[in-house]
Amino acid sequence: MNEESKVEHRWGMAIDLDRCTGCQACVAACHAENNLPLSDPESAAKGRAVHWIRVDRYYEGEFPNLRVKYMPVLCQQCDEAPCEPVCPVYATYKNPEGLNVQVYNRCVGTRYCANNCPYSVRFFNWFDPVWPAPLDLQQNPDVSIRMAGVMEKCTFCIQRIKRAEGDAREDGRTLADGDIQPACVQSCPAEAMIFGDLNDSESKVSRLAGSGRSTRLLEELGTQPKVFYLQRAK
């Protein structure tokens, strides 16, 4: 019975762009949670920085009448993910909960998935990761370190999902809405990010996804993303 209910989850996220202040707390939290390699300014300029979530900036108007819009972009966990069919070794595939997962051990590093991701949210390990001391002592034991030559990307903090599901199973209860918070969601001071089960029509994320303010990024490509961006219609 537990196994059945597990399959029934369909994890999704809503991000309220009218609330986002562009503070980058989600980026920092993701780095700490997911053992992301650090990069110095030079390697970042060479396109080697890894941020599973980034905050894109869009400018409207001319200086000084300028409006900046922030848009946190992470893996959209597409239902029809373009990255999946092109992988020759099944290193990326759809897990039973609809997550687009990356199996580091299988990846041979063709980087085809990254080319085919319209959101550019896939990252490659150009070198073995290094952390300057003492940051090497604060790694998250729940998340594996990725070696040079493999792809990686946002997992919706799958380690937190699995832990919450396991805890709920042990306690003999079902998961409640809000039991799981990926690191970015947890650390958002503006509470602009909401995570939950899209299969549960009563969950907060389901209600927001169905609201009139809901849009999806590059929806026209038919990728069926599970991240919903909320913004006032112009």
């Binding site: 041979v108 080319n115 490659f124 070696m147």
Partner: protein, 438 residues
């Protein structure tokens, strides 16, 4: 004006074509040493990349594919020299083809061997490249046959096997003749390779049949191979890649660069091995016309590809289109047009200007132009993904440049070794007896 090869006595033909096989002059050794040094340097660069991580190359997010994949497409394109051209000429019984087919077939095999290395060099974890091969393994996992990379692997290995057979079949009678006359280790080498050929009527008939059959098969395989290479790009949804024209466009480009490579090789071996009597201006003239035809076809496809993108005016495609026509990549684009169309059109289209020298010159510019074409297909698209926040510029490092240089040296080196072991122009096809058979 040299006499037509048919008018030279068979004894003399054999003497001329066997002469380069024996001995190695100081110039030959110097060139081999130089090329080996370049290959060794490329090997060091690759070893460094394997050891330090592929980040020592210039590839970066978002340009995840660059020099290595450009070289891959380029060399697979060159491989169409051979087999495709020689197969067409064989099937159409074009008699003038005799002295050029072997040179072409050898290019194919070597270019495929080199081109086939690039997907491996390009891998993040090159040491597990065999995970793409379907075999029962400890991972209990078949490769993903929905991935165009698997189609690629299948197509290219088929083509490599097929074209090796296709190169080898017409070599057999020559090898058998050589084994009768050679001494020392060469005698054993040729004897083993001749597969016991005695030259009986039955053997000739089987050989003829096999060569005709392989010519037909290889034609289909060659077209499918470069179509599949094109599909590596066009199956994805990246702007300017997702294009139905890519299959035929790539096949045309491949034949185009293949003929250019053949002309260049012919012109080099003609000079260095003194084959002026066999590779005559007539051959350069005929292949030059073929090159001109492919140049026009290439122009047609390039216009069709770009005009439809421009007219469609899709914003993400227009970014890529604009960067090619008038932006960052435009110098390369217009050099490509000059090298692939203007120069061949002038030198090969005007009959008075179409000489051995200008044909060779045009084939060099076409080779450069076709390399640029692949660069312009791959890099601009990746530099400008749909979300502008991820845009980034690529430039190669010494690692990529060294490995690229090494592949050109490898090609030359393999050809030099081949030319020392086998006659680069088929000898037996000049034999009056076998002429009747053919």
């Amino acid at each position: 004006m040299a006499a037509a090869p048919e008018l030279i006595s068979y004894q003399q033909v054999r003497g001329d074509l066997w002469r380069p096989l024996s001995g190695a002059g100081p110039r030959y050794l110097a060139v081999v040493t130089l090329l080996s040094a370049v290959v060794l340097w490329g090997g060091i660069a690759w070893a460094y990349q394997l050891h330090a991580g592929i980040g020592v190359a210039g590839i970066r997010r978002p340009v995840f594919w660059a020099f290595y994949i450009v070289n891959f497409v380029f060399w697979i394109g060159i491989s169409h020299a051979g087999t495709l051209i020689s197969a067409i000429l064989r099937l159409t019984d074009a008699n003038w083809r005799k002295p050029v087919t072997r040179a072409a077939e050898a290019i194919t095999v070597f270019a495929l061997m080199i081109g086939g290395m690039f997907p491996i060099i390009h891998l993040g974890r090159a040491w597990v490249f065999y995970w793409l091969i379907p075999y029962p393994n400890s991972r209990l996992l078949w490769p993903n046959f929905r991935s165009p990379l698997l189609w690629d692997l299948t197509a290219i290995s088929t083509y490599l096997i097929g074209s090796t057979i296709y190169l080898f079949l017409p070599l057999i009678p020559d090898i058998a003749q050589l084994s009768e006359h050679a001494t020392g280790w060469r005698r054993h080498f040729y004897r083993a390779l001749s597969l016991g050929w005695t030259g009986s009527d039955r053997e000739w008939r089987s050989l003829e049949r096999a060569m005709k059959l392989m010519a037909g098969i290889i034609l289909a395989v060659a077209v499918s191979v470069h179509t599949v290479v094109a599909w590596d790009f066009s199956m994805s949804i990246a702007p300017m890649w997702h294009s139905s024209i890519f299959g035929p466009y790539f096949v045309v480009g491949a034949i185009f660069s293949g003929i250019a490579a053949l002309l260049l090789v012919m012109s080099i071996i003609r000079k260095t091995m003194h084959l002026e009597k066999y590779l005559t201006p007539h051959h350069f003239d005929n292949l030059g016309k073929l090159l001109l035809l492919m140049s026009l076809l290439w122009l047609y496809f390039t216009i069709a590809e770009n005009l439809t993108a421009w007219y469609g005016n899709d914003p993400s495609e227009m970014n890529v289109f604009g960067s090619r026509i008038r932006g960052h990549f435009s110098p390369y684009f217009w050099i490509m047009v000059l090298f692939n169309f203007v120069i061949p059109f002038v030198f090969l289209g005007i009959r008075r200007l179409r000489t051995v020298r200008t044909t060779t010159f045009a084939s060099i510019t076409v080779l450069i132009g076709m390399w640029l074409e692949r660069y312009l297909i791959i890099v601009p698209t990746l530099s400008m993904p749909r979300l502008a926040a991820a845009w980034g510029h690529y430039s190669p490092t010494w690692v990529e440049i060294s490995i690229t240089a090494a592949t050109f040296a490898t090609m030359a080196l393999l050809y030099l070794f081949f030319a020392k072991l086998f006659p680069v122009v088929s000898v037996w096809e000049f034999e009056p007896h076998s002429n009747k058979e053919a």
